[in-house]
Amino acid sequence: MNFLKIEDEINFSQTLYKLKREIENFLHNEGYMNIEPSIFEGYDEFTDVNFRIDKKSTVKVFDNSGEILILSPDITTGIINKFMTRWELGLILKIFYYGKTYMFSNGIKEKRQMGVELIGEKNENTDESVLNTALKIINKYTDDYLIEIGNSKFLKGLIEACLFNKVDYDNVLNLIYVKNKQALKEYLEKLPYREPISTLLNILDLEGNFDEINRSLNGLYMNDLMKEGLRELYNIDEFFKNVTNKITYDLSMVSELSYYDGIIFRGYINGINKEIIKGGRYDSFTEQFRFNVPAIGFSIELDELMKYLYKGVI
């Protein structure tokens, strides 16, 4: 058996370097400016703004005054923390970064990420233009990919209208997350009937082609927030349907991060078991800082992309 040699390691590193450079050049040409994210974040500052982050899995370090810091588990939160406290109204930031994130998962897990954030701009095709950037990146490296798009407003509007208590809310969301249709039905049937539940019972069928989803929604309960979410997806579908057939929709998409507020999207490459691209709109995330600044972004999982691209020393 041959184990990893120095030569292999250098070769891997070269391929990664080229990949990074290529994406950086592309983003630079698209008008994004580079920033360097910080590795350290204040533990309290971070968990205050991003309350969904799993505190136990953060990697903690102490500075010499006993202050608790963490190695950044999510670069977007760090960037928002850094810029929002001194935001100037009217500013538009188009930025990209390369950085690493850290989490405990059988030891410390380090992930290489690149990412894009567009903060302060929202017109009728901002979502489309950011999505298009993500699409172009993944399209550079493969034809065998998919971008799946959801909208957190739809599920949020629906779940809020169901008026669940905390326990039911968590259980229902979890059943949606694992797509367990029968258990969801059994669970909802035990709860007092409310009109929105009619849509919730069908939520797991609201996936695939946008027109089909729209047809399935016929006659089902919808409120304003849900309609707003659906309209945003409709606009995206109108924009992309004649451009690419790589986009599918999933209205039941649940995000691990709490801050998404609007479209959420993920990019997959066939045969790679993790998301390659993760992103979405997070306007409400900035609201915590007294400013109402629209923001959207995505990250690229470089380690996963490398698994697909790197074929070893030839």
Partner: protein
């Protein structure tokens, strides 16, 4: 692109294979042979026979697209997978059992629980507010309370005959367990149509089992 399906070896797998075969799928599968991979080239499905506790691992890591696994394993492993369909086979209960007539535990603050399912046991007793010490065993769980290793056991119960034969009884039924069709999350995105079609076929066959049992 062939769909890959993991089937657990043993009784559950045998029932599943029977179901597939009555749908004219996977007729090539020979449970008696030592081969572990069978390819139905006509239906474009590849079957793999795995140890039941390994099915989830293969599915979660994307080595196979879908698999058949007991809900007990799914709860225990807490794997990141989709639980697409609950089947009418592999039905049983997850229960707390102990020595007949010794149901009341008041002296000891910490209950000793022997089980093959430490995560399920921990979660269940946590919701009950009962502190426990988990003792992980791999088989013959029924012996543990008799020999004094633990106070109670958490295990799968089908008929309850094994418990009875060893002087044990069920104290609490925790969860009902079924076989489930699970799917890898990324495979589901790329092969949604094939996966849904196959599940729809199985569902029709599976519903007959509901009447049989």
């Amino acid at each position: 692109m062939a769909l890959t399906v993991a089937i657990p070896k043993g009784r559950l797998g045998d029932q599943a294979i029977k179901m597939f075969k009555s749908l004219n799928i996977g007729e090539i599968i020979d449970e008696k042979s030592r081969k572990l991979i069978f390819e139905d080239t006509e239906k474009n499905i590849k079957f793999m026979l795995l140890k039941n506790s390994d099915v989830i691992t293969y599915v979660e890591n994307g080595i196979v697209d879908i698999g058949i696994s007991g809900k007990d394993m799914i709860m225990e492993e807490e794997a990141d997978i989709f639980e697409l369909y609950k089947m009418n086979i592999g039905k049983c209960k997850m229960s707390v059992a102990g020595i007949k007539g010794r149901k009341i535990f008041q002296e000891d603050a910490i209950l000793k629980v022997a089980t093959k399912f430490p995560n399920i046991a921990k979660k269940y007793f946590e919701t009950k507010g009962q502190k426990i010490k988990v003792i992980k065993l791999n088989g013959s769980i029924e012996l543990a309370p008799i020999l004094g290793l633990c106070d109670v056991i958490v295990d799968l119960v089908e008929t309850g005959n094994t418990l009875k034969a060893n002087g044990l009884e069920i104290f609490d039924d925790m969860y009902s367990i079924n076989a489930m069709i699970i799917s890898n999350k990324v495979s589901y995105k790329f092969k949604r149509k094939e996966i849904k079609e196959l599940i729809e076929l199985i569902r029709r066959e599976d519903e007959k089992y509901d009447k049989d049992n």
